[in-house]
Amino acid sequence: MKRILMLTLGVLTAIGGFVDIGDIVANATIGARYGLGLLWVLTLGVIGICAFAEMSGRIVAVSGRPVFDLIRERLGPRVALVNLAGSFLATLLTLAAQIGGVAVVIQLASGIPHVVWVIPAGLALWLVIWFVKFQRIEQVLGLSGLAVGVFGAAIWWLDPDWGALAGQALSLGPAPDEPVPTYFYYAVTLFAATMTPYEVFFFSSGGAEEHWSRKDLGIQRANVLLGFPLGGVLSVGIAGAAAVTLLPLGMDAETLGQVLLPAGIAFGLAGMAVAMFGFFACMTGAAFETSMSCGYALAQFFGWAWGKRERPKRAARFHMSVAVVIVAAIAIVQTGVDPVMVTEVSLVASAVALPLTYLPILMVANDRVYLGRHVNGRFGNAVGTVIMVVVVVAAIAAVPLMIATGMGA
């Protein structure tokens, strides 16, 4: 019974924790422009994140060590340093975007400009990390993030043309009047939003923090294979709500306020309040995960003692680095830069950093020295290889597409 409860809680947490500001912005923007026309990219991304999160969870459960600890050992410090630099920068930008997003949500609730809320939001994040237990943070924020499901309910309530939505979902290319590069730019950002590198950083290090072992393999697999796809459904809800309300008007989604409107049109005060609460929970949860991921990456590369459970005295450099990255992220957003713009840049940076994160995981997951008989099977390798090809293409194309399309203008 306790294991079933753990599984249910883990899956629900994974669902709610799947969505972050990158998913929200990418799905709303794409929903307003293409409807559900890029659903195939989201599906591909969810398959990818499931495959690689499962691999990284298995690596932790079998070896007892987090993935990036092994990457440094397996690839050597020089290659691992490139890996660290790319993934760290992408994750730091993602953290800045989350903190900025939290500040914007508070602005929407209070009417007071978001720059006023950046420092309090960052400080509150640090206090939560310092005082609240790891599992409690994950569960409370993950479960609260389920509130984003209000967008799915809004689609149903607004009673759209379901045939048109299905038609969009089944389409595999841009409409004849849509520029092809812009279509692929959005495809790359959506793929990057779904497979953001910090997700596996956090998943694997969090697993080590919770002392996963071989007997936890089943639960961690279920969390990933049920939680992430269902989390993907929440993302589809955001895209679908934009497809139903914004797309018919021929408008773009440029701000978080515009993204909220479908919930307000469907359910008024309650809808908007639930949507804002869901955004707040998702972004705060992702801010927790990204700040911890920055600390994990640095500590595991340099061989410091690390872990949220470790007392600050014993893991001083780890705890200090988490605090410093929060300050750095605050400094980025406090300049007044639009958090949605930071999100878009962070998605491109994530796309570029994707191979640095996922190729080593595929290598370690095939290494019998670490995993013994638990190495990837044929199916796992087939999926991993296909996703890896997509990851490399997305990484190469991201910056040229960003420049050429003026960030999807």
Partner: protein, 135 residues
Amino acid sequence: MTVLTRVAAVALTLLLAACASLAASTGSTAEQVAADVHTQAQTAYLTSEAALNGSPKSALRVVLEESERHVTDALTELEQLQGDHTELTSLAEDTLRAVRDLKTAVADDDRAAIETAGAAATAAADGLEAWSALL
């Protein structure tokens, strides 16, 4: 050819291919301004719908202030743009008026004024669509 050179060649090819279609992607400056103003007009319309359904004033005010800022920036850009943009400027001014009227109506909880401002925003959006169609 090393792997790095191949990767660089592929990246360069993609960049050039993408740059070649830049004009198709983004259009002229006036068209971009029109698209942005159109988005703000439609945002105002949707905000009026959300307001009529009882959505929180604070969030709606933030959405409308953001739209107001976008349209004001668009008008400044149009002033600096060479050529005759009288019609587009007039449509942007209509949008700005609708956004501001809606902001006041939402603050006053005046349902009739919200409906009127929403209709004015829709009319501005229709005008912008007609302007774009003529190009």
